[in-house]
Amino acid sequence: MEKNRIISGCKLLIIGGSAGSLEVLMKILPGLNTLPSFAIVLVLHRKSTEDTTLEELIAIKTNIPVREVEDKTPLLPGYLYVAPSDYHLLFEKNDVLSLDISEKVNYSRPSIDVSFESAAEIYGKSLVGLLLSGANADGTEGLLAIKKAGGTTVVQNPESAQMPTMPQNAITYTAPDYILDIEHILKFITLINS
C-alpha cells in the first residue's frame, strides 16, 4: 500500500477469485477502458456448465474485448481472458494458454494456485497477481510463487470482501505488496503501464 510505485513493464495481470469476487469484478470492470500492453486473465472458482454465462456477464460489463479461452489460445495484450470451468489454466513460453484436466487442487479446477504458479514461471517480474474475495485458501501458494519470481502481489482488503478468508489467508502467509479495497484496486489497475 505504502510503496505506491506505478507498475511498469507488466505483461499480464492475473486475477484469482472465489465466492464474492464476481461482485468486485462487476464494480471494477466498467471502470477499465484499455489495457496498455498487458492482458488480464481471470481465474474464478465456478460451477461447470455455466461457462458462457460468466463470460457474457463479464463482456457486458467492460469495454475491454473478452476472448474465449480454448486450448493453445494466444495471449495477446489488450484482451481479457476467462479461465474455462473444469480445466486448470496454464501458461506456455510462447505466450500461449494451455488447458489441463488433472486432479482438482484445493478442491478446485480451475485452481488459482495452479494458474498463478504457472504464470509466475513464465512472466516473472512482468506479472501482477491479484487475489479477491473467497471462502477458502486457494491463491496463497500462487501469490508466494509470484513474489518469489519477482512479480507484484495485490490482495483485496479482507474488510471490503464479502468472504474475507481467502484474502486474509494470503495476507497472513505472503505479506503482499499491496492490500487494497475495491476502489483502490480499480485505481491501481488503471495505473499499470500508464
Partner: protein
C-alpha cells in the same frame, strides 16, 4: 523442483534410452507432472531421478504412468453425448457395421458411456469399439470395467442429462465399493496400446473420439495426431474432440464441417 533445462535433458534421455518421445508435449503441464513425480518419489536431486529413469525399465514405466493425466468420467460433458445420441448415431446407424476409435481412452469410462448409447440405440451388436492409450495401467482398468462406486451418483446424473431414460444402476453390479459394468457392454470393445506420437493408422473408422488428449500436445504434435485421425476416418466419418479443443488452424480443417456448438466435425469428402 526441476528447471527448464533439466526437463529438456530428461525428455532427450527418455527418447534415447526408451524410444518414447515427449518432445511434442506441452511443457507447462509436463513440467508440473515431472515435478510432482520428483516430489512423490522423494528425489534429492535431478541426476538421481535421471539415472533411475535411464537404468530401471520398471521405473520408466512408472514415470509414463504418472506423468500422463488420466482423469476421466462417464458421460463427461453430458450435452456432448446428447448430440451423439440424437444427431450422430442415427446417421451412423444406417451403416451395416460401425467402427469407433477412442484415442486416449484412459481407464475406459468414455468407452463404456459410448457402449451404453449404442445399446440404447440398438446398434451395439453391429459396432466395434477400439480403445487405445499409451498407459498400460489404465487400459487394464478399462478392460475390467470396474469403477469406483462413489462416482455412480454423478455418472447417473450425467447419464440422465445426456438423454438417458433407464435406471443407470441396471448397467452395473455394485460390490465392495466398486461398480462392475456388464460384459454385454464390453464384448464389443478392443483395448490396446497405441502411441499418438509414433504409431500409425490401424483401421478405418466412422467415429473417432480423442477428448482431452490434444491439450497435452503442442501445436505440431496436435497436427500430427489430427492428420492421423483424418487418414483413419472413413468418408463422411466423424471426429470428436474435448470441449476446449479445436481443429481450427489445422491443415485438415477444410476437409471437415463442424456439426454445431459441440466439438464434433464431419469429414466432407
Amino acid at each position: 523442483m526441476i528447471d527448464d533445462r533439466e526437463l529438456e535433458v530428461l525428455i532427450n534421455e527418455v527418447y534415447e534410452y526408451h524410444g518414447f518421445d515427449f518432445g511434442g508435449y506441452s511443457r507447462a503441464s509436463l513440467k508440473r507432472r515431472v515435478d510432482r513425480l520428483y516430489q512423490l518419489d522423494g528425489f534429492s536431486n535431478f541426476s538421481e531421478m535421471l539415472s533411475k529413469v535411464r537404468s530401471e525399465p520398471g521405473y520408466f514405466k512408472r514415470m509414463v504412468e504418472e506423468i500422463t493425466v488420466n482423469v476421466t468420467e462417464m458421460f463427461r460433458d453430458p450435452l456432448f453425448y446428447k448430440v451423439l445420441r440424437e444427431e450422430v448415431l442415427p446417421i451412423l446407424g444406417t451403416k451395416p457395421f460401425i467402427r469407433f476409435w477412442h484415442a486416449g481412452c484412459s481407464s475406459g469410462e468414455e468407452v463404456y458411456s459410448m457402449a451404453i448409447l449404442l445399446k440404447e440405440a440398438n446398434l451395439l451388436h453391429k459396432s466395434l469399439l477400439y480403445a487405445t492409450d499409451i498407459n498400460p495401467i489404465v487400459l487394464d482398468t478399462a478392460k475390467k470395467g470396474i469403477f469406483p462406486l462413489q462416482m455412480m451418483k454423478q455418472y447417473s446424473e450425467n447419464y440422465m442429462t445426456s438423454g438417458g431414460k433407464k435406471d443407470f444402476s441396471h448397467y452395473y453390479t455394485a460390490n465392495y465399493g466398486f461398480a462392475k459394468f456388464g460384459e454385454d457392454l464390453s464384448e464389443k470393445m478392443v483395448f490396446s496400446e497405441h502411441n499418438l506420437v509414433s504409431d500409425g493408422s490401424f483401421n478405418e473408422f466412422d467415429l473417432i473420439l480423442c477428448r482431452n488428449v490434444l491439450i497435452y500436445f503442442d501445436k505440431d504434435l496436435q497436427e500430427r495426431a489430427l492428420c492421423l485421425f483424418d487418414e483413419s476416418l472413413a468418408k463422411l466419418g466423424y471426429l470428436a474432440l474435448g470441449t476446449k479443443e479445436t481443429i481450427k488452424f489445422s491443415p485438415i480443417q477444410n476437409r471437415f464441417r463442424q456439426l454445431n456448438r459441440e466439438k464434433i466435425w464431419r469429414k466432407t469428402e
